[in-house]
Amino acid sequence: MSKVYPDDKGRYGAFGGKFVPETLMFALEELEQAFEQAWNDEAFMNDYHHTLEEFAGRPTPLTYAERLTEKLGGAKIYLKREDLLHTGAHKLNNAVGQALLAKRMGKKKIVAETGAGQHGVATATVCARMGLECKVFMGEEDMRRQSLNVFRMELLGAEVVPALSGSKTLKDATNEAIRYWVSNVEDTFYLIGSVVGPHPYPKVVRNFQRIIGDETKQQLQDIEQSLPDAAVACVGGGSNAIGMFYPFLEDDVELYGAEAAGMGVETSHHAATISKGTKGVIHGSLTYLIQDENGQIIEPYSISAGLDYPGIGPEHSHLAESGRVQYEAVTDDEAMEALKELTRTEGIFPAIETAHALHLAFAQAKKMSKDQILVICASGRGDKDVNTIKESLEREVQS
């Protein structure tokens, strides 16, 4: 498995590219140049690492889940604790990186999209920290459902703009953010939240998230003097997954991505992009997506707001097609059970997104032997989901 992706057209095999209005092309070229320079600039990288350490709480621990391991009776399970990162999820790694990049490029205004609010809070947070102006688009429907995150962003000094188009959720917030960027591309930096969007975004975000896997590799080396045998992550856009997977792509490590099966892949209520999607273009990138026979994008469904995206990062499409990573769809109910299991057994209360990875990981771990090692990317904490989980469990009790 060669890692020279993306190629110079921003392609990961057949996927990726820059399918955007001409207005944005120059900005993407400018971003690409700026990113490549920054990534190779020691001062910038020091800034990035320093901010992650002194502000965001890196390195995050690699926690051995002893009781869980014993209970499942298979592989030794380790959790990479992105839930302990400032603001509660891996999203901040990327927000820090991109905001530093924006500053380096002399941009003082940031625009971002957000679904449940996780990336929006991360973005508003780094903007507050760095004194950048911040505008976050959020579907009007999501703003209603996640009003506390709206309030958090506002407290952080961000302006939250309702996306009124389409189904008024993440997909539409992304459209609106891109539209806003098109109109203000000269002084505004678009800080995208996952490994999606036009090139070079999937690469930029991957590089700012690979610290997850890099640290994991080092920590496991220190603890076990070994690579893991398998790594598991959940996949919305795919940023925490690629962050975990990327440093292991050329190693003998099995990689598993959990996407959201919602109410089941056999129903019309899911977000199982790889399992049930077809190729197409979304938000500037050629990738798998959920669409109808006319190429209209279908609003996906998952109990987890962070996995509720109709596309997936182009690199994942490539990794799926090449067979390097196994993607499986996990239902709402399966995720919920796994969430309860981890909480009760290890005292770690994960995000519902993460819980999808847990379900898949538990199933794999059971099939593995006791001398094998499996790491899970615990992408975020569950605090943001308490209401959803509560309602879901109450529904369960009633039915």
């Binding site: 820059k18 900005a27 997909k171 273009v281």
Partner: protein, 274 residues
């Protein structure tokens, strides 16, 4: 009589070369067919037939709403292309360009798409989210069948302008100013210098789009651009006349008033209607 190519139509027009954009299926097929003819009537030289899309990220609110209405009525890429022969049957002679986001095209398959276009006598394509770097596959095919693949340049194209202009087919779509489609009261002052720069680089006629909605704008562009592309202003009018357009008996009058509105926009001293 063989139809003019897009380039011929563009080149033969005196100012303003007029390229209206209409959304297929808003509010229904019948209207779209009639509207095409109305535009020809009003002096259109080339027609942009828009394909409604769920996620039109280059479009402002007016065209977003228009697309939603069309989708609700079941319009699709296939059906839209198949409207062209019906327009022709009713007397449409000007070239027709299919305006679609890339995803519906990909979903159909590029080759099928090209086949359908030629079969149904379309004359060109415009994919707003397919920049030069990504359009090779499509261009190769369109060239083979003599379809114009329309390119756009934007104020931010900067060093890219030359490259794009060099490959332009039919006419060059010059995006007036940063932003999405929609009506703008005025263009920013730097817009005119940019348009002149584009004009100087281009061998094909240059039509300016994005935001044109007043006769003053059309007048002001004379001398720098060759023509105008008007979309949101027209579809806003259509939006205002939804009820009438859906009602067969009232459709004629509604179309009439749209025609007058468009003629008003184009009423520059040296009218093309000679």
């Amino acid at each position: 009589m063989t139809r003019q190519t897009v380039r011929e139509a563009a080149e033969s027009a005196s100012y303003p070369l007029f390229i209206p954009f209409i959304m297929a299926g808003d509010p229904n097929k019948e209207t779209t067919i009639e509207l095409a003819l109305t535009m020809q009537e009003a002096g259109a030289h080339i027609l942009e037939l828009g394909i409604p899309y769920s996620d039109p990220l280059a479009d402002g609110p007016v065209l977003q709403r228009s697309a939603l209405r069309a989708l609700k009525h079941g319009m699709s890429l296939t059906e839209a292309i198949e409207l062209i022969p019906e327009m022709r049957k009713k007397g449409l002679t000007i070239p027709v360009i299919i305006f679609s986001y890339y995803n519906p095209v990909l979903r159909m398959g590029i080759e099928t798409f090209i086949e359908k276009l030629t079969e149904n006598e379309a004359d060109g394509v415009l994919i707003p989210d397919l920049p030069l770097e990504e359009s090779e596959e499509l261009s190769t095919l369109t060239k083979k069948v003599n379809l114009a693949n329309i390119s756009l340049v934007a104020p931010t194209s900067s060093t890219r302008l030359e490259k794009i202009a060099a490959q332009a087919e039919g006419f060059l779509y010059c995006v007036s100013s940063l932003g999405v489609t929609g009506t703008r009261e005025e263009f920013p002052p730097e817009a005119y210098a940019f348009i002149e720069e584009v004009k100087a680089s281009s061998e094909v006629p240059v039509a300016v789009g994005f935001g044109i909605s007043t006769p003053e704008q059309v007048k002001r562009l004379q001398g720098s651009a060759d023509g105008v592309i008007i979309g949101s202003a027209i579809m806003k009018k259509v939006e205002g006349l939804q009820a009438e357009l859906e009602h067969e008996a009232k459709r004629r009058d509604a179309l009439q008033s749209i025609q007058q509105y468009v003629e008003g926009l184009l009423a520059v001293p040296s009218s093309h209607q000679q």
